[in-house]
Symmetry: C2
Subunit: 486 residues, 2 copies
């Protein structure tokens, strides 16, 4: 099939799919989850083989994938996500009568989704981007990630099967294979209305540029990762030094460090630096060398570290073990905050289990750090309540630099819920206004429309006087589930 | 003052301004409205002189401007616009305890706003873009439009006065003057976080490109206008032919046709075309030649018509009167739908009172028209209820092409309320996901952040357990004003 055929089918499917009921859409999503569960053992086997990720992790990731499908299904059934806003007519207003205006979010059209290598299920074929687009009412043209081709194709077939069983036109989902050129052609296609991507900065930025150079520019939601700094303050760090070091190392080495939220940067006060470093080093002893997703990623990890090893500002606490084709071991280096501030290279992401420990002399230095920091998916603050109260200025600066600010725990393990924000200022993503995880992700693939004086027979259910969907709406500025009295 | 000084002051002001209470922000906005009203006669005189717009219009526009300031003030006081979303912790969850996650919209930072020539007040210095940015908590660097320099500067001083009276740092608003180069430099400045613009396609698209070429790309909300097609169906048109023709001409010629929502394109059925054309021609007799905003705009109007007059597909019903330096008269030409479909030139906007009447043979032709149509701010359908019921397919296609779909009246006269959507698919704007009129405009200048396990003493009021602001929040997925029981 050529791309024109694929996109025409998607556009055709869109005009049907956008109009089917919320219940029907939710059933379709639930059917996808059901078919994935039915094929659990086959999928886990395939994804494990292709990604080198352990069975336990893949099993968990499949649960997360179907869990997130069910969350979107329930959101679609609930229906309030369309932000229905109604300003009823006022024919008696002077000098001019007021028209009836009703606004809601509608789906944007066919969406191009790129899967991520590091989550062969939860951020891939039936992952958050695909499902939130389908939930919004948009068909998806999905480009499988070449690192897990069989898993991708198989999961794609599960989605197509679900569409068939639910009587949804086949064009609602198309699985496409190919390399860089294919990805570019997908983004360039005139019928594409948005792009969702998770992966490297280079690839994401290049798709962003292509999308903006189109005759009709379209939104690109590229999640490109970050170094997810952790700021440790002395009160809490001195009280919990060993457990914090251990939890830091667990997060750093999880999945061979191949997480967008991997905490690659940690700020510690001078007088605790040596102790913390020892505790981290000790925890790292038990972190074995482990395989990466593919050889290219392992190679990039070693190259990035080779490059950093030429820098005199760094003191190496643990250099990586001898190079291996696919296995990597964690590494740890130390730098002074005053040196870190001087060169952006020290905040470049090294994909893998590399930690840069930045030693600060005093908390004023952290204000300079915060001003200099690039946009991040997450920032974590480890402080006790008393010392955090003195950090309001720092917290205010850090808010400007991230999508999620944590005060306990570690940034890995992104909760799928209503309140999650997974996305942050550039360069962590190309669009800080949206999230790629959690219920709010559905709004990426929608846009508002206002209907003025639309005959009631034509109004979408979400906007009808009687509120047949029972959704929360804003009527004359007030949130309510009441019907409109006319 | 150089731009670095201006932006540093704005950034500095931002860190204070974003944290002051909603009430304080609302008072500041209301103070702006109050000072503008106090200076009504001076402003009306100045704006009338600089824009050539009649006093009645300018008086009305000032009322609209202060009315919209009050709407945003009341929205800020209400506070629910931040979309507070709370997933409380669940320490008992297995296998892993659930963290406490709270999400809300926060202001994006300093915003660059460009005023429009055609609304010297409502879309200019204290217009929708400036006020919605200030309402969201963002400082504004405003570039005055050179077509009304005195008005712009004077209104800018009113805003600065209001800031001073309310104890808001002066950097919250800066009025800047200059040409194209200045505009580009503003968009290029590293501290700028978003751009709002109303004007021509050429200027808007060029700012969009500059913003995307920055080291850190930023959102551009450019409202670039459209031809706002009207589709007339035979049942309603035959019943109301003369009043519809008259209301069409009023809308077309309002303000010398210098409205973004000016209905420059109208589709009429073949067998009523001659009658409708006569009625329009007759109404046009009473539409006098009138001055445009400035000579450049008058010149562009005549040039565009000269260009169209070379096209054999057009039959001219009314050619413009002899050229004048600044006054223009309306013009009307007719074209067959089958010819219109063949060339995009026939849907290019002619800024001014030019109407292109497209004659269709049958309603199937309109489906082709809808597929071919560029993105529009508005589309209007004139049909009686019975005939609109048969147009579901057409309506579905037209939804994809506009931000507002009207079923009575004319598109000019954009209501300022909660439900208004003023914005549409490209090329009518560069971002169909937002509006430049109405309460939802505040969200342009905000982005989400999630706080995970934030100590309650640090939580913003919008996210505190006790809901001290009394706002509507989504807790565990349900909308409520209740406090969180912990």
């Amino acid at each position: 099939m050529n791309l024109d055929t694929i996109f025409s089918a998607a556009q055709e499917a869109f005009l049907t799919y956008k109009s089917i009921s919320a219940d029907k859409k939710a059933e379709f999503l639930e059917k996808i989850a059901e078919i994935l569960e039915e094929n659990r053992s086959a999928i886990v086997l395939m994804a494990g083989r292709e990604s080198n990720l352990p069975e336990g992790r893949i099993n968990g990731e499949l649960g997360r994938t179907t869990g997130q499908i069910k969350l979107f299904a329930s959101q679609v059934r609930d229906g309030s996500w369309v932000e229905a806003t109604i300003d009823p007519a006022d024919p008696t207003r002077t000098p001019l009568p007021k028209a009836d205006i009703r606004r809601m979010l509608i789906p944007i059209g066919p969406v191009v989704v790129f899967g991520a290598s590091n989550f062969p299920l939860a951020f891939s074929t039936a992952g958050g981007d695909t499902i939130s687009a389908l939930a919004a009412g948009c068909p998806v043209i999905y480009k499988g990630h070449p690192a897990h081709p069989d898993t991708s194709k198989f999961v794609g077939e599960c989605i197509s099967q679900a569409a068939e069983k639910c009587g949804i036109p086949a064009g609602v989902f198309t699985h496409v294979e190919g390399g860089v050129k294919m990805g570019q052609d997908l983004v360039k296609h005139p019928l594409a209305k948005a792009v969702a991507f998770t992966g490297s900065f280079g690839a994401g930025k290049s798709l962003f540029n292509i999308a903006n150079d189109r005759k009709e520019p379209i939104p690109v939601y590229a999640e490109m990762g970050s170094v997810n700094p952790v700021f440790a303050f002395q009160g809490r760090l001195s009280n919990e030094l060993v457990p914090l070091a251990q939890s830091y190392v667990s997060s750093l080495t999880l999945g061979s460090g191949q997480f967008c939220t991997n905490p690659g940067l940690i700020f510690v006060p001078r007088h605790l630096a040596a102790n913390f470093e020892s505790a981290v080093s000790e925890a790292l002893q038990t972190a074995p060398s482990s395989p990466m997703l593919h050889e290219g990623i392992a190679d990039s990890y070693y190259k990035a570290l080779d490059n950093l090893q030429t820098r005199p500002e760094l003191k190496w606490v643990k250099v990586p073990d001898a190079k291996h084709l696919i296995n990597v071991s964690p590494a740890l280096a130390e730098i002074k905050a005053s040196d870190w501030i001087e060169d952006d290279i020290f905040q470049a992401e090294v994909f893998g289990s590399f930690a840069l420990m930045v030693v600060y002399e005093n908390e004023n230095e952290l204000l300079e750090v915060a001003k200099k920091l690039h946009g991040q998916l997450t920032i974590t603050l480890w402080g006790d309540n008393a010392e955090l109260k003195n950090q309001r200025e720092l917290i205010s600066l850090l808010e400007e630099k991230c999508g999620r600010l944590l005060f306990t725990g570690v940034p890995t393990g992104v909760e799928v819920g209503y309140a999650m924000q997974h996305g942050g200022p550039y360069p962590s993503t190309t669009d800080a206004r949206s999230t790629s995880v959690g219920a709010h992700a559905i709004k990426r693939f929608a846009r508002p429309i206002a209907f003025q004086d639309m005959p009631s027979a034509l109004l979408p259910d979400a906007l009808k006087d009687e509120n047949p969907l029972g959704i929360v709406r804003q009527v004359n500025g007030k949130f309510t589930i009441e019907r409109i009295l006319s």
